[in-house]
Amino acid sequence: MADLAQAQAGATMPGQPYMELVNVWKRFGEGDKQTVAVRNVDLAIQPGEFVTLIGPSGCGKSTLFNMIAGLLPSDSDGSILVKGKAQQDGALLGKVSFMPQRDLLFPWRTVLDNATLALEVEGMPKRLARQKAEALFPEFGLKGFEQHYPHQLSGGMRQRVALMRTFLFERDLILLDEPFGALDALTRSMMQRWLLDIWEKHRRTVLFITHDIDEAIFLGDKVVVMTARPGTIKCQETITLPRPRDVSVVTTPEFMEVKKKLLAVVEEESLKTFASATMRP
Amino acid sequence: MSLQSAVRSPYAAVLIVAALWLVCVPLFSIPPRYLPPLPAVIADGVSVWPDLAAGFWRTLVETVLGFLAGSLLGITFGIAFAASKTLERAFFPIFVALQTVPVIAFGAIVVIWFGNTILAKVVIALYLAFFPVAVNTLRGLEQADPQRIALMKSFGASRLTLFRKLLLPTAAPNILIGMKLAVALSLAGAVVGEWFGDTVGLGVMLLQALYFELIPRVWVLIIACGALGTLLYGALALLERRFVWWRPD
């Protein structure tokens, strides 16, 4: 499977985006009760790019992710293309490495077996899958915790297990839905630097949801801002900060400038969400 | 989805099963020894109506009295166990063991003690209801989150306030689970208690039907027992909806 994905990746024509969303919509319910969760989203993701997606909560980010992962059919208005080919409903299942908002570790599996879950589903023999995962434990800071159960781990460690599970499922595109949302600031900034290290090493295409502007700028090649619900893309900002990045980048004038710009946009959208929520009867 | 939820409603279930019964018996010519036709069962039920009504009422009273007394006692013991670690450590394992005793066997002993009075059946129903309620009350009270207890204490809550405002609501869903188990057991206890000698009650009629091999009558009584059980269970479900409207986390 991994080889096949590699071969397909090789077939990407120069300059052609890895994935394109063209006029993607998602509506829930019928008639009066209809909620438009995602509206007219156009987005191109280049191979090897780290794209961060930011927007107020409830704006449809997770819904968009579910469609990209093939879990939720998008409405028939638009299409999702991978290397120029339109994807039918469900065709993306098993093709994208997806990490949901909650870690969703299985309480009955050890840390090691949670990490190998996707490999097992793929049909890899358990022995082989474990060998492969064990090699990653030091890198993910989990050495010695292979035989622990999830309830014995801290929040940051659980998140790293979920990340390892995602990384072991080797696909060209990785979707990360607010992976550090529940962590404290210190742990989060450590995890961000660590994620960048891992990414530089493995160089996969990443789409990363966050509601933290600093995080979006620090990690991304490109920051995509979504509007309040119904979510659509408000603006995109290419980040030219040099890589590899470390903490000091956060205090540079370039960083501050981008942040100021994005802050204004995001603030405006958050206020809209807040206003519509408080005005509701 | 809506079909599935419609089928899950108890009224629909009864109707569907009745319709199946009506259709399948003649269709597959099932011998009456296994399943008599529904009209025959209904006719038999009508023919013994006064006895049936009296028996239903008697068994209902026995079950309810025993169930209520047993639940009250069970909740009291559950609270006592939760309040005293020593008491719990000494007696709770004995309770768990006693719970596994085929309690209906005590029916015989209780009838020796109380004779063929209604009290005997009530006591059997009580005994059966007691254990599940006590065990589930204790489990529920123990489920209270220590952090929430600490929070209440930081507000200066007394033991009684802590119990009323936090522990009891936390335990309520579990207590109701115990009571639902208990009500079915109480009914079984009342019915079996009647076998040790009585003249009125669904259990008595069941025994007579067995001796005279009246198969339609047995089915009448199965339906009556099912209706009685469902009635009591439904009452508890209503109680649950009234007092445990929140979702335990």
Binding site: H151 | R8, V191
Partner: protein, 251 residues
């Protein structure tokens, strides 16, 4: 070493409480001069049980075989039905009404029918034991299999898992605690149902012993039989607790 010490420490208060209760019973009945037909002394009960150990053991064996047989058949049926229903929702729509209606009737009400159909031998007891278990296991396991949220199911789907893969890796393990609850309730119900069926009509078994002894107002035998039966079901319960640890090994 430490675990042995801990076990001893937790066993001590229980043993003390048990001893206190037995002593109270023994000397209370002596002091108040309670006649044996009302409440025999524990020593007498133990003596009766031990004195006819071969007889009680044989009867208990019959009851246990019936209870275990019924329990196993009923549990396997319940598990198979639950799995079939989760894989084929049509089956659930079709069979659930029947299951709910039968489950609403206390299983002992079916005892006369089962006796008329299967006779007074062991097969009628096994049948009633199975009937007492099958729906509790079915309903509990089914609700357990449905417990995992859509998010977890979606995670597996995003890995490309099939329907069976989701059942095996997620729904079955998540349903284990509910299954164990069903088995525990079912075991208690099937033991009761078997003993009740034996009381109503049987050639042998603890229930029959109790019934006959009651008719002869032989309360010592009744108590001894209850004592022996309790030991038996306590043993079954112990097996189930061990099984619980095996099936729900995490936390």
């Amino acid at each position: 070493m430490a675990s042995g010490l801990n076990a001893l420490r937790s066993a001590l208060p229980v043993a003390a409480a048990l001893l206190a209760l037995l002593l109270l019973w023994q000397f209370g009945t002596t002091a108040l001069d309670v006649p044996a037909y009302i409440l025999p002394k524990p020593a007498e009960i133990l003596a009766t049980a031990l004195g006819r150990i071969g007889f009680f053991g044989g009867e208990l064996y019959v009851t246990l075989v019936e209870a275990v047989g019924g329990f196993l058949i009923g549990s396997v049926l319940g598990i198979l039905l639950a799995v079939a229903m989760i894989l084929l929702p049509v089956l659930e729509v079709m069979l659930m009404p029947l299951a709910m209606v039968i489950n609403a009737v206390p299983s002992i009400a079916f005892v006369p029918l089962v006796l008329l159909w299967f006779g007074l031998g062991m097969s009628s007891k096994i049948a009633i034991g199975a009937l007492a278990v099958v729906f509790v296991v079915l309903l509990n396991l089914l609700s357990g299999l449905k417990r995992p949220e859509a998010e977890s199911i979606n995670l597996l789907r995003s890995f490309g898992a099939s329907r069976l893969g989701i059942l095996w890796r997620l729904q079955l393990p998540a349903g284990m605690p509910a299954l164990v609850t069903g088995l525990r309730v079912g075991l208690a119900r099937s033991t009761i149902a078997v003993i009740v069926a034996e009381m109503m009509g049987a050639y042998s078994g603890i229930g029959q012993v109790i019934y006959q002894a009651t008719a002869q107002v032989d309360s010592l035998t009744v108590w001894a039989a209850v004592f022996v039966a309790s030991l038996g079901s306590l043993a079954l319960y112990g097996v189930l607790v061990a099984l619980d640890r095996k099936l729900v090994w995490w936390r």
